[in-house]
Symmetry: C2
Subunit: 571 residues, 2 copies
């Protein structure tokens, strides 16, 4: 009966028989179907639009004269953990920029806390202002070559589908597993297919017949296309392309040629991993939209990809147009080109501190998740034979590494040492899930670090402690400090901690407001630079040193990994 | 486990590791995403495509060299009853033309048999070769001004949603009821919204704020736009437009200007009501496609509307592209322009007599549904005052009628008579659901009938007997003959039945093969012409004389109806 009353009110308000709950007066609507701009009011009843292209009276009226109205933006794929803040803080930061729907994959917290972490995201989503939809992580752990905090099988995921915020199966990264017919993975894909849920993809550089095999599994979306040619092949094989512009992986420029009106029904935008510095300095989806239009893409194609098409691709059929009967997700912009939001409505509510204040606080989770052994310099000094050893070659701005080799200096016991004069640093991984206390050590080149250590528990995908440094004592100090503060980032030198960001939520997310996290990250970056570090984003690059599903040479708690052959390298 | 095995096979066949179940060799694929044509094989495993744009080996191979492959067509809205044959015969006729999905509204049988008629369609659909989806009729009866055989409320419809072939709520024709907040109608709309099902529209000429009110109810599709201007307004208000080309209502020419690539994601094609003569002579959706391209529409826009877009609009997300992971609904054409199908696959099965023969026979239904009183000439001779009386003015090729007036001759008792010299015929409606035996009589102009009578039980929307003639005895003979044969069509003159088509399934559908029905219809047309009838489609026009939701003057078993004011006209 309540639904019927809401329906009756919507119909009455839509035909102007009663004042609307809310009217945006005097704006200009960008119609994503015909590409036309319409002057006129936008009438809203409850959470839905009920009137457009007409004049309306409202019980509440907001003046949007001079502004252009577009549908709320949909981030089609991201890991909120990469923003280093809670979902609450994330939306405080991006919803005012026009992001009214985000499709997140809590892959990071799932690797630490398992189902409990996913549930925490689902329950948080239920109370948020934006519509956060949660994909259920498909690849936890993403590899057997590292110790993870959890393991998720189909039987763990399926009960979560009953949650109203659960969407589908998150990026199926293990494409070799799909092609090889891995039974556990196929069980997940089959179960989600049977439930009629979306199965999201992740298939960098996959082409030709192997791509066909992957698609035959019913996977329909991909955010890993990095060239127009790759994107075109995937599009023409029925795969929707999510154009990604993250903090590490930036594909917008390369994919601009496919961002056309013709392809627009099959395109979406996403941020994947975007850190607080980039969000603050450049923006979020608003940045992608601005950059795409500045790069020459048609506004109609861009705004379709940013809203209606993304929603359609993920079967969120209630949103993406500013028309009667559609969800009242509205962004009022200075102009289509500037994409500066002056007012944002999400489900008919004005996005702002008032709406945010009404949310119940998030329950605590993941405290004390960094259960690493207390380490000392000696733990990182293990004798090894003389001669050349493999060295991870870090490449500025890329998560792919090079496979190098060098003969390091050794101490009296024969343990390899750093050699800053040759930009040869030590890298260690310390298992921190309380499973086995594994410690692995190796060598890395490219950071430029000349003294001290930098360390993180944000280390994809399994989030053990990863630390790069030249001095074993400082490295141990940084690692131990992370265990003390519940995880996060630390910089140590000369026996002192120079900077740190505590991320007590699973060792992944801070409890601080977004702005403070951003300021602390700037301090961390300065501290790292004071040690000689030359990379623009040393902590992001540190975070990907332990990800063995990306070529070519990586390190996990079990040792150095040949990521091309998916093999651990013996000592 | 069975699903997992199917998935494993699909992946293996897609990457070419195993021979595919079926390969279409050497064709050219029309890619509806990029608009490009790709030479290459199409590999199929079970019911899905697993390979494209490559070379494949198959356990079975079919040569399609020289042919162009497009996705199977989706008829987005039709009443199968209007084809006058069973669902089995309907698909035998249209599936070989490329229609692999049809979204039907069993509105006609529902008005006669209620839930039992809808269930019969649902169960028939489950055994068919094409994928027939059934919308649940929203407006049974469509008006209170006529006696119907059944009444369907929300509580009757909701249990049917559990059937795998049930799609959503069929065309909500009663738009005045929506705008007035009719509680029974709102209950249906709200219930289908809550179930997450599509709500289909029907809103001829509705524009401006009333259209907004109708759309605010969450109705998303319309097949009643008859001008480009109307279609553009509806499109820009988020309503998908189903371009209709039926036997009576033909909108393709008027809507060609909106059939563009830009709008194509929001367009579909439909036939609504298409009779066996037109299907045989012109075609079905293939005719629409040919005509649209011949009329200047871009093939990409047309084929998108005919398949992928229609599927998306109705949330059938598994079909509409020829790509790995998509349903194997494939049409091999001589050319995009000719749209002549040489081979059709539906869910991976070759459409043809072999597949049709495998269907279990349809259960009998609706026999003896014509429960009309036995009538005599005297029943149609009721005294009336002298002077002018309202006359229905039939317009060739339109279901809208004119409101005319004339003073008919009268017999000795004062009963109005026909006057062929002024093209003034009598029209009667005889209630045939066994409810009340109502008989109403009136006058009609435009048939040109000079003697005898033509009669039908196919009389939208409630399917009482409607009969037009000049001789009351022949009219009674035709009506009584329809009751004897279980309904259908009859032509009588000089005390004899000249031609007839028995439609024993609810008085709506023949049990004969499609070709025989077509031949019989030609006989009926000839017989009608022999009586002087000048209309090209006299039986179609007869069928709409009793539809009081269409302007301006109509007749039901309760009397003449002012269809503009929705009022019965007193004697």
């Amino acid at each position: 009966m309540e639904q019927q009353a809401a329906l009756r009110a919507a119909i009455a308000q839509g035909q102007g028989a009663e004042p609307a709950d809310l009217v945006l007066k005097g704006g200009r609507i960008f119609d994503l179907v015909t590409g036309r701009l319409f002057d006129g009011d936008l009438a809203i009843c409850g959470d839905r639009i009920v009137g457009a292209q007409g004049r309306y009276k409202g019980r509440e009226e907001l003046d949007v004269a001079g502004l252009t109205l577009v549908p709320g933006f949909v981030d089609a794929h991201l890991h909120i953990e990469s923003s280093l803040v809670t979902p609450h803080e994330f939306e405080r930061c991006v919803a005012p920029r026009g992001v009214t729907t985000a499709i997140c994959d809590p892959h990071e917290i799932a690797n630490v806390l398992g189902v409990a972490g996913v549930r925490w995201f689902l329950d948080a989503a239920a109370e948020m202002v934006m519509d956060l939809r949660v994909q259920l992580p498909s690849c936890v752990p993403s590899t057997e070559m590292e110790t993870s905090g959890a393991r998720l099988e189909a039987a763990d995921l399926l009960p979560l589908l009953a949650h109203p915020k659960a969407l589908g199966l998150a990026e199926v990264m293990n494409y070799p597993g799909v092609l090889a017919g891995d039974p556990g993975l196929l069980a997940k894909i089959a179960a989600f297919a049977e439930a009629g849920r979306h199965r999201d993809g992740h298939a960098p550089l996959l082409r030709g017949l192997p791509l066909n095999g992957y698609l035959a599994a019913g996977i329909r979306t991909d955010h890993e296309a990095t060239s127009a040619e790759e994107a075109l092949e995937k599009l023409s094989k029925g795969m929707a392309i999510l154009i990604r512009e993250g903090s590490v992986s930036k594909d917008l420029r390369a994919l601009l040629p496919v961002l056309t009106e013709r392809h627009s029904p099959f395109l979406a935008l996403c941020t994947d991993d975007r850190n607080p510095l980039d969000i603050a300095e450049q923006g979020h989806l608003d940045h992608l939209i601005r950059a795409a239009i500045a790069g020459g893409a048609e506004p109609l194609a861009v705004y379709r990809a940013a809203s209606h098409s993304a929603a359609r691709i993920f079967s969120l059929g209630d949103r993406g147009l500013l028309a009667p009967g559609w969800r009242a997700d509205v962004v009022a912009l200075d102009s289509l080109e500037s994409c500066r939001a002056r007012l944002v409505l999400c489900g008919g509510r004005v996005v702002g501190e008032g709406a945010f204040a009404a949310r119940p606080p998030l329950p605590a989770i993941g405290r004390g998740s960094v259960r690493a052994p207390r380490v000392a310099a000696a733990d990182f000094l293990r004798p090894a034979p003389p001669g050349e050893r493999p060295v991870i070659g870090v490449v500025e701005g890329k998560i792919i590494t090079e496979r190098l080799a060098a003969a390091p200096p050794r101490d009296a016991s024969g343990a390899p040492l750093a050699d800053p004069s040759r930009d040869l640093a030590k890298v260690v991984v310390v298992e921190r899930h309380g499973r086995n206390g594994n410690i692995a050590a190796g060598l890395v080149r490219g950071f430029g670090i000349r003294r001290g250590a930098i360390a993180a528990t944000v280390a994809h995908d399994h989030h053990n402690i990863v630390c790069v440094g030249t001095d074993e004592a400082d490295m141990a100090l940084a690692c131990n400090r992370l265990a003390e503060i519940g995880g996060g980032y630390a910089v140590a030198a000369g026996g002192a901690v120079l900077a740190e960001l505590a991320c007590p939520i699973a060792g992944l997310m801070s409890e601080l407001p977004f702005d403070e996290v951003r300021r602390t990250l700037e301090e961390l970056r300065s501290a790292a630079q004071s040690l000689g570090v030359v990379l623009h984003e040393p902590f992001l690059q540190l975070s990907f040193l332990a990800l063995p599903v990306i070529p070519h040479l990586k390190i996990t708690d079990r040792g150095m990994v040949d990521a091309d052959r998916f093999e651990l390298i013996g000592p």
